[in-house]
Symmetry: C2
Subunit: 200 residues, 2 copies
């Protein structure tokens, strides 16, 4: 069995959402699994000197236009959230708290957060909002609210981000297929081709 495809994303990244709508289907078509790995790009940006796109002159205006156009092209629900960038700490910690024991539930929760935030424009920065969403997915909201305050869970999310940086991850989405890195939702066609051809 080959390694699962590693799918790194930040909840605050709409391109991460776009990739999340496609990555499992692409993998499945080639008999592959996907390991979802949310990270906190704030830490990464400190290293690379980047800022969130919405805070950059010129780029912010393009970004707003591009993500709406990209969503229409993909045919996925999209509504501009009122708060950008969202704070993805609660969602990220909740994911890593769940992932070891219940990876499918962790992935379902992650996708629900992305869909609610980017597809419906509802702010998911708040732990209470993440917990409410989790409740509808059979995940105990009270346990989640406790977990996101647990120092061990907080450390886990930080560690996962540190580990991703050690592997060279600097953006969202960032996909690694058999050691080969692909950055950006607009590289998923290349990911697909890489899986189909074994590289070029």
């Amino acid at each position: 069995m080959p390694e699962p495809i590693a799918f790194y994303f930040d909840f605050a990244s709409p391109y991460g959402y776009f990739a999340a709508t496609r990555i499992d289907g692409i993998a499945r078509a080639h008999g592959r699994e996907v390991a979802w790995r949310p990270i906190a790009l704030g830490a990464t940006f400190k290293l690379t000197g980047m800022k969130p796109t919405v805070e950059q002159p010129l780029r912010a205006a393009y970004f707003r236009r591009d993500i709406q156009r990209f969503a229409r092209l993909l045919g996925v629900p999209f509504r501009m959230p009122q708060a950008m960038p969202m704070n993805g700490l609660a969602a990220g910690r909740a994911f890593w708290w769940l992932n070891d024991e219940r990876p499918e539930a962790a992935k379902r929760l992650a996708f629900a957060v992305l869909e609610e935030h980017w597809g419906r424009g509802r702010d998911l920065s708040d732990a209470a909002a993440v917990a409410r969403l989790a409740g509808g997915l059979g995940i105990d909201p009270a346990a989640l609210l406790a977990a996101v305050q647990d120092p061990a869970v907080k450390a886990r999310f930080r560690d996962e981000t540190e580990r991703s940086m050690a592997l060279g991850v600097f953006g969202s989405p960032y996909v690694i297929v058999d050691g080969e890195p692909f950055w950006g939702a607009d590289r998923l066609d290349q990911v697909e081709r890489w899986l189909a051809t074994g590289g070029w």
Copy 2:
């Protein structure tokens, strides 16, 4: 007649080179013309707070890998230049000096510079190297060397970059089709689709 498609690029950008190998063909297939518009992104980066990718931790390593892989995918010649980022001032000034009177010669020179720098890895930062290349294309090398020192030509290149920023251009390649902006060589498929469908 619709406006020509505006194709903004920096000579120092390999993604600008990749786009240059495709943009005229894409336009022609839809009965459209392309106006090439080299700019100096150094000025733009001062406004947006960006740095050349080769100077950014993590991103630089990915960039080197991505451009070689992208070139193989497109099937275009590629050789990593020894000097990155290249200084595109001489090439940019030479282009704008030629463009009003001889737009086809300006485009041929621009493509030759990109091909020589990115396709063959020869540094084209130096005005003398640009002039030598120009000589082979029927452009007077001595006149070119004088032009790139002419304050009016220098000002023209600066003005074109200023104008591009006023239109929101912040990267290379940046393509504007009937008011619709597309940033990145990986958006050319969307440009193609936009031309074919009139938008979505």
